[in-house]
Symmetry: C2
């Protein structure tokens, strides 16, 4: 099992630099006052396709050899990775086949199709998705690009932390949300190398706390049934990301659904930027664990900004 | 009737620089493709209190003499000017009395109170607001700071365009939303001086098109009953702003409510930033008048980002 090292993140950063946005690191005196800490927000909601996923997908596409480039790439996803791989591949002249459940939101189907990918619809089960992808691979020889269980994806996701720690070299802690663990793995590899004494935390919803249970028990734990508002964090770790995170991260912090919504509202209202629920999870963890962060400089990776504006978690009030 | 010149905007810019944010100018390749033009967004939604109003209010407070500083300032407003004057005054050690209608949203009352201003509530009529302000002035000798019919306010609002045209010296056109006309006046004074051949447009809702009717008839026209979603643009021009705008602006473009909502949705979804409906009006005008802007570099002043997240104009869909 290949696991990226810091030099692989550096190589990824150089490779993808012409194709990705170098996103800003924003601060907010109002949120600092609320948190009792100095917060640095690495804004991957401003990344292409609205999520950090474009970094890993671009690195994976650029890592293909000539023969693989001709055969194309395939993945099964209905989320940000699908859109990211579609744009990363098609814009580099590589064919992208995306397997999506027929029940995926229309807006996501349109986005993936709009980037020029070919969509194969299937039943909304993991078995059906894997079977559809396998059939495409058998027929075309396309390369499967898994959303997180992939060396080049993890190295690519680490480039967000590399930029962050280049711009702001010495925060006391860094937090990233954790679903499958690709972003947290890349972040941990990068941060542990550049700032050995930094605290590295994953943050996840209590309703999807498989990473916390895995880390605390020392054994990879299965996911719970998906129920959280943080729809980017439904997947569970794989052996590869579990290995990295066990070794490099300090802990996984968990937060309630109410705390996620409140943290998301704070960022929207005070910073005037749109972040998706998954991106609010680390801020919720900072606000809920004041003993860990009081008076510290705390870097947070804002993973994305893709939300359905017609289904927002802000209730009607008078 | 005193009207600021370009040198007054420069003086305001130097005076307020230590106290205001120098806001970024953002671009979006996606919105450029949709508009068929290169768009520059001067992001005053990231200004303190979430609106350009903090520039004018700060300049007005800094322009007070010692005696006036001791007596304090007063205004009647339930919008961004109230919050802006409250913060500008109190943070400089000047007492601020804000007259608000008792029917103002709780969130706005809390914001103004949170900045340390004293609030006087009154009936929700212009007569009651003016009477309450007059009573405070009689009692305290406070200086009335009108939201737009004020020399220092107009000069202060012009500093956004001054920064914009310093960062990007030669756009073909600049647009600002127009309500009372303070922002458009300051913008026009600045842009006409720095780029004499630039096209300068105000943008307003058809449902609040008093500025367009005033400009087109050559006579100051009264406001219509307030019905637009762009709640920052309900007021009508005063003689002072009408004089500036007649002389310096090229035209006022009007847009429908549907076009405002669609432009607002585009900015939220594609740029991942939160803008208030009034700020979407110029983009709606660009999208609705392609013959004026095709292939041009077009600067838009995003006036603010204060929205009630529980009352958003994005309908529920499946």
């Amino acid at each position: 099992m290949y696991i990226p090292e810091f030099k692989d993140v550096v190589a990824a950063s150089e490779a993808i630099a012409p194709f990705v946005h170098r996103t800003p690191v924003l601060t907010s005196r109002q949120l600092d006052a609320i948190a009792g800490a100095h917060l640095l927000f690495k804004c991957e909601n401003f990344q292409k396709v609205g999520a950090f996923k474009f970094r890993g997908a671009t690195n994976a596409v650029l890592s293909l050899n000539e023969e693989d480039r001709r055969r194309g790439v395939v993945t099964h996803s209905s989320g940000n990775h699908a859109a990211a791989l579609a744009l990363a591949a098609v814009s580099r002249g590589v064919r992208a086949c995306i397997v999506m459940p027929s029940t995926a939101p229309e807006v996501k189907k349109r986005a993936v199709a709009g980037y020029g990918a070919e969509i194969t619809f299937c039943e909304p089960t993991l078995a059906a998705r894997e079977a559809a992808a396998a059939e495409i691979i058998r027929r075309t020889g396309a390369t499967m690009i898994h959303p997180f269980d992939n060396f080049n994806i993890i190295a690519g996701q680490g480039t967000a932390a590399l930029e962050l720690l280049t711009d702001h070299p010495s925060p006391d802690a860094v937090l990233a949300p954790v679903g499958g663990g690709g972003l947290l793995s890349g972040t941990a590899i990068t941060a542990r190398h550049l700032a050995p004494s930094i605290k590295i935390y994953g943050a996840e919803p209590i309703l999807a706390d498989d990473a916390a249970r895995s880390l605390h028990t020392g054994t990879l734990q299965p996911a719970l049934p998906p129920r959280t508002i943080a729809d980017g964090l439904l997947t569970s770790l794989c052996e590869r990301t579990f290995t990295v995170i066990s070794k490099k991260a300090d802990d996984i912090l968990t937060v309630s659904e109410e705390d996620i919504k409140e943290a998301m509202r704070l960022v929207w209202e005070r910073m005037k930027i749109i972040i998706e629920p998954s991106s609010a999870v680390p801020l919720a963890a900072v606000l809920g664990n004041r003993h860990l962060f009081a008076g510290k400089t705390v870097a947070i990776i804002i993973s994305g900004g893709n939300v359905d504006l017609a289904k927002l978690p802000f209730g009607q009030h008078a």
